[in-house]
């Protein structure tokens, strides 16, 4: 009799598991002894829906762990560098004004360290888009020999031997079996919380600020075909998350997306970066060739070069660019500075927890 009762319970339980769509949040939450606490991520009005992987829902414990890992040099070969070494909050999580980042062995990277801001809405990561998710991106820098230069095998040895991490992973993911996937998941959870929507532009949209005359003129340049910035730096995110050749070179030394897709039509295309907090993220472009925003504006005004893959959106390439006068350049700069969010770069929730 007891056997049938057990069988009945198993059948019913089995039906629950096989016939119902899984709720990923509940699944992960239930995996620990008491389970991690769901993180209530509040996204700003007007922002897109944030696609969060079903197998990596945000939890309070996961975000906290990710923040700690982001700032912990334990993930580098000689314990001197963390993610934050090249993604510093004060610089909107870009690299301290450096053109290229220096790894633990003194090697320089080949591209400028991108800012991490509203990254939860990025449909691809890296300048060439080679990572499809924050989780995938986070797997890259640790074992990269010119960056943090630590094999994941060695990273696991260090994390498992650490007095705190096994417990923290257990709380976040319900397991003490730490692996690179869980490290990447935790870091990605933290990165999804790095949301900026408190710039003067946001305040203007909320009716909390008004534009100066120069900002208003810059607004017109940005959002009309005078400057035509809005096609690539579009939406509330100020990026279309797509790839363009913006006319930096006529001969390419870095083919960007082309190396990923294998299509020559994609040569020299790079991902449009968000312009939010652009004031804090110098130097500019994928190779950090421009030290100031003034230089960037001058490039778009007078320095655009034709090449076979140049974006069709670069309308005035035949004239070398937009041909802005000094006042127009200053006005555009005024508008770009409206996108600075000091709340974001000072947010204690994003800061070094150590």
């Amino acid at each position: 009799m007891k056997r049938y009762q057990i069988l009945g319970v198993l059948v019913i339980a089995g039906l629950f598991f096989t016939n119902c769509k899984k709720d990923p949040l509940i699944e992960d939450v239930s995996s620990g002894s008491s389970g991690p606490t769901p993180y209530n991520l509040i996204t700003p009005n007007g922002f897109p829906f944030m696609n969060i992987p079903a197998d990596n829902p945000l939890t309070v414990e996961g975000v906290s762990l990710g923040r700690r890992l982001f700032y912990d040099p334990i993930l580098s070969g000689d314990n001197t560098q963390s993610c934050a070494s090249c993604h510093t909050q004060a610089f909107s999580f870009s690299d301290n004004g450096n053109q290229f980042s220096t790894g633990i062995d003194g090697f320089l990277g080949g591209r400028n360290s991108p800012a991490i801001i509203n990254a939860g809405w990025s449909s691809s990561l890296f300048w060439d888009g080679r990572a499809a998710s924050l989780e995938e991106q986070a797997l890259g820098p640790v074992p990269n020999p010119i960056e943090m230069h630590l094999t994941w095998t060695d990273a696991m040895v260090k994390l498992n031997a650490h007095p705190d991490y096994p417990t923290l992973f257990s709380k976040a993911f319900g397991t003490i079996s730490i692996d690179s996937i869980l490290v990447a998941k935790a870091i990605a959870q933290f990165e999804r919380t790095l949301i900026s929507n408190d710039s003067k532009w946001d305040k203007y949209l909320r009716g909390e600020a008004s534009l100066t005359a120069s900002e208003a003129r810059g607004f017109d340049i940005f959002f009309t075909e005078k400057g035509d910035c809005f096609h690539c730096h579009s939406t509330i995110l100020f990026t279309d998350n797509l790839f363009h050749n913006n006319g930096l070179d006529d001969i390419f030394t870095d083919i960007g997306l082309g190396a990923i897709t294998g299509s020559s039509n994609d040569n020299a295309k790079f991902k449009s970066p968000t312009l939010r907090n652009v004031e804090f993220t110098a130097p500019y472009m994928h190779d950090g060739r421009f030290n100031t925003l003034e230089e960037v504006i001058t490039f778009y005004s007078e320095g655009v070069k034709f090449s076979p893959t140049i974006s069709p959106l670069m309308k005035k390439v035949a004239q070398g660019g937009l041909q802005l006068n000094p006042l127009e350049k200053q006005d555009l700069l005024s508008f770009l500075r409206m996108l600075s969010d000091t709340t974001f770069v000072n947010n204690p929730d994003y800061s070094d927890p150590f």
């Binding site: 769509k21 897109p48 009309t224 039509n265 076979p308 140049i310 069709p312 035949a318």
Partner: protein
Amino acid sequence: MRKYRLTYLISILCFFVILLACKKDSPPNDNKDYINMTFSFAHEVDGLSLDFDTIKYTNSIGNNYSVATLKYFISDIILHKSGGGTVLIDAEHYIDAVDPTTLSFSPTDMIPNGTYTYLSFTFGLDSAKNVSASYLNPPENNMEWPLAMGPGYHYMKLEGKYDSLGIIKNYQCHTGQSMGNPYFVNLTLPVSSFTANGKNLAVELIMNVNKWWESPSLIDLNDVTGIMGNQVMQLQFMGNGADVFRVGSIQ
């Protein structure tokens, strides 16, 4: 006896668990008085297949050109009944010619059986649908048309390069509600009669890109740059758009 009672109890419990725990699937279309329609979108240039990023097409005025981007909205499909009356499919759909997931569209509206003489639709978004911030998510949100020149969304982004006396230049055929004035196209498909008789139908719509550059206005690609605020050009494309589509098949 108790063994059978237990089996019976388990069966009943299983039945209710299945009923309560699962989301309902949509019922099959067993109403033979109505059908569903699927619309698919294909693109060509005067009978040639549309390949991207290669200057291989020639328009009526003689520009040799390529296509790099073709993204657009269609909306408000109207089915015109034989003997009068219409059925409106009140929906909109975004198409990116390089994204296969956008190339077909199955409205949820049920279409009553009957004979239809032709169909028409709006190319772009009519004024009621063309409201800024309607689309917050990609890819549609990247079609936004700035408030300073709009509002709303691009009806179409058709971009590429052309050969201008040996110099390669860019063109951007961006149509939309320019400076507050709507230029969406009410597009009628003359050869599009069909009969709905209980069987779902698939309609293939084919855009001939070259039609954008001709009839009634002959367009030179040298003029197709920075046209978002150009009322004359927007009006010309509104006119030229009337016959850019034909029906490939209805079956």
